[in-house]
């Protein structure tokens, strides 16, 4: 959803800053096989243009500088004819992409830095209910992620990386991690052996990573008459999810008796199944399965500006040291007056901003961030 208030000042300012960025950053080093990709973009009036194709980066940059979109997307799929209608594109495979987002982690601090904006008048409310300003509009929430949020999402990203590297055996050179530019990370896997997986196969992978559908039988606990029996699988319990669960339960290939006692202690087969579900929830990763399973989707282009924040979708070389509010904040420092809708504190480019007044003079990157979030507008009087 586009949160920007559609005023002449806002649009003129944002377009100017975005155009300058695309003019100065015209390389897109992480865009491979450009001629096989479908491109699309969202305009400032929220209209989406799709089915575009470019042969060279220069053509793409020219389009971005000319039309200045709010968001730029490209397909994970490789097509023979990327600009044709979807059923005539000739699908030739697709990168495997994973999306993790702070909002899916249910972090307790979320409400401490959430703002509830009216969908009709743009007023910032303190609670999620009918707007107290116009009494008509419904509110939607936006959030300014804090340090705790980023620590939590980076931990989740590290878990995902481990699954990809050690369970799925994907070589490091095929995995690229990007900060989405707002509140999450995108993992792009361009391993050629994974490219031809259909949607069902991808769904099988996402269930593996989330931890959906583990059966007690896989670790050797089977339903038997009114109770259960133990029969460990021939292929062992010391790999993959079986290992994660076995380690968590403190058992190995020789612990049949211990396993029997554990099942009895959890109240039999059904109780043990609940215990397994608890473990899979703990070790699974909160990815958005629909994103990964879709083989015709368009994704935010690495190196492009995220219209929800003004931050850039940025390659993350080292998860631990990556600082999204600094490393992905690439817009200019020139100052501009904004009208704030609420008091707030924010840290961008390693600078703290405590904004208490209705009219504030801030660097452009702060102004873009707040206008994109719907928390400020560009002042008419500069």
């Amino acid at each position: 959803m586009n949160q920007i208030e559609y005023t002449n000042e806002n649009i003129k300012f944002l377009k100017g800053v975005f155009r300058k960025y695309y003019f100065e950053n015209k390389y897109f080093p992480y865009l491979y096989s450009i001629e096989k990709r479908e491109f699309g973009y969202r305009k400032f009036d929220s209209l989406v243009v799709r089915h575009l194709s470019f042969k060279y980066i220069g053509e793409l940059v020219a389009e971005l500088v000319r039309n200045v979109p709010l968001d730029v997307y490209y397909s994970n799929a490789y097509y023979g004819f990327p600009s044709n209608p979807i059923n005539e594109k000739q699908w030739e495979g697709a990168d495997l992409i994973f999306d993790i987002d702070i909002k899916d982690l249910n972090i307790p601090c979320f409400h401490e830095h959430a703002y509830y904006i009216c969908n009709l008048c743009g007023f910032v409310n303190s609670e999620q209910k009918l707007c107290i300003n116009c009494n008509k509009g419904k509110t939607y929430d936006i959030s300014i992620p804090c340090k705790k949020c980023f620590t939590a999402i980076k931990k989740e990203a590290a878990k995902l990386l481990e699954f990809l590297r050690y369970d799925l055996g994907i070589e490091e050179k095929f995995i690229e991690i990007f900060f989405s530019g707002n509140a999450g990370f995108h993992f792009h896997v361009n391993d050629p052996s994974m490219r031809n997986l259909d949607s069902n196969s991808r769904s099988n992978v996402t269930d593996y990573i989330i931890g959906n559908g583990f059966m007690c039988e896989s670790i050797g606990v089977r339903k038997y008459r009114n109770g259960f029996m133990i029969k460990l699988p021939k292929s062992g319990i010391m790999n993959g999810w079986r290992k994660k669960i076995a380690s968590s339960l403190g058992i190995n290939q020789k612990s049949e008796l211990k396993l029997k006692h554990l099942v009895e202690a959890s109240g039999g087969y059904d109780g043990f199944r609940n215990e397994i579900n608890r473990i899979t929830k703990k070790f699974g990763v909160h990815i958005d399965s629909q994103v990964t399973n879709d083989i015709h989707r368009v994704f935010r282009l690495p190196g492009s500006i995220n219209g929800k924040s003004g931050l850039t979708k940025t390659k993350c070389e080292d998860l631990e040291s990556f600082n999204p509010n600094n490393d992905a904040c690439m817009l200019s420092d020139s100052e501009v007056y904004i009208n704030l809708k609420t008091k707030l504190k924010i840290n961008l480019k390693n600078n703290n901003f405590k904004l208490d007044n209705v009219l504030e003079k801030v660097p452009s990157y702060v102004a873009v961030y707040l206008v994109c979030k719907g928390l400020a507008t560009i002042s008419k009087n500069q």
Partner: protein, 328 residues
């Protein structure tokens, strides 16, 4: 070769012997034709034909079976016999892969996996465990509905899936069945030998009745996933795209008209008749790709958080199976 008559070597053998179809009308071939009929009847009754003869006999029996199925000309019979032939082969493969079998036999099986299905599979010489790459596994296992085939229930390490040999063989059953089915479908027979044709006529007469008027059902109750989506729509709340897809494909699959399906979505907060009509017609296969979309499987709905299973959902693989009664 006797166990695996679909291999290239078997076709080469027939070509080398310069065998002519007309030779099937010779009296000494009757026992081959009768054997093929016996095998087909077994398969049509749902049994695997387990007799194994010398390779010349097996290759000829296989060839006659294909001719018979082709001449019967019934899709269901082609599919059923292909599946049971695949299951017969599966038994032989399992035995050849057991620990006590020679390395030579294991190499033959490895060759079958590689040649026919383009799967590189490594067999451990000291155990009954083998490994194959995750993409090779996924492309096959994702077509299986039993939960045990989901990747999460498998032994996985460093990009490989570890299976016991019976499981590895089971994994290719569908593909093998499809391979045999495709062979039957693509066979170009200009003149079927008289004897085979008359046997095919008899079999058609005997079995065709079993395959008519199937799949006619009446839905008595919506499944819980559909009920839930309907409740949200009726409350005027927003349904995610995946739930709309499920709801529309389900309604079309149970025989609702496009108009009736469009009507269901009228209460959506973002309802737009033009867009809804296009999308429903698209799903019904009347617009765009002209492919009719199927209802997503229960497995897919579970992973998209759209499943609200109740006890009656046990063992179902698709919501379409819920609450239906066969029409008599």
């Amino acid at each position: 070769m006797a166990k695996y008559p679909f291999l290239q070597e078997a076709s080469d053998y027939i070509q080398e012997t310069k065998f002519d179809f007309a030779e099937f009308d010779r009296p000494e071939m009757i026992h081959i034709i009768n054997r093929a009929v016996e095998k087909l009847e077994n398969e049509l009754k749902g049994k695997i034909y387990s007799n194994l003869d010398e390779y010349e006999i097996e290759i000829m029996t296989f060839l006659v079976s294909l001719l018979l199925i082709k001449s019967i000309g019934l899709e269901e019979i082609s599919k059923k016999c292909s599946l049971f032939e695949a299951m017969r082969v599966e038994r032989f493969l399992s035995t050849d892969l057991s620990i006590e079998r020679s390395q030579k036999k294991k190499l033959l099986v490895q060759k079958i996996f590689q040649e026919l299905f383009n799967i590189n599979i490594d067999f451990d010489s000291t155990s009954s465990i083998c490994k194959l790459s995750i993409p090779d596994y996924l492309l096959r296992a994702s077509k299986m509905h039993e939960q045990e085939w989901k990747l999460i229930n498998r032994s996985i390490k460093d990009g490989y899936v570890y299976l016991d040999t019976d499981e590895a063989v089971r994994l290719i059953r569908n593909e093998l069945s499809n391979l045999i089915y495709t062979r039957i479908k693509n066979m170009k027979v200009y003149e079927v030998p008289i004897l085979i044709k008359s046997k095919a006529d008899e079999l058609r007469k005997k079995y065709s009745g079993r395959y008519v008027y199937r799949n006619q059902f009446k839905i008595l109750e919506y499944p819980p996933c559909i009920k839930h989506a309907m409740e949200i729509i009726n409350k005027g709340e927003n349904l995610p795209h995946s739930a709309r897809f499920m709801l529309a494909t389900y309604m079309l699959a149970i025989g609702k008209t496009e108009e009736e399906v469009i009507e269901i979505f009228k209460n959506s907060p973002d309802y737009n008749e033009k867009i809804t009509r296009y999308q429903v017609e698209h799903l019904a296969g009347k617009k765009g790709s002209h492919i009719k979309y199927s209802v997503p499987s229960c497995d897919r709905l579970r992973s998209e958080d759209l499943c609200f299973a109740v006890k009656e959902c046990e063992n179902l693989i698709n919501p379409i199976q819920f609450g239906r009664r066969k029409l008599t």
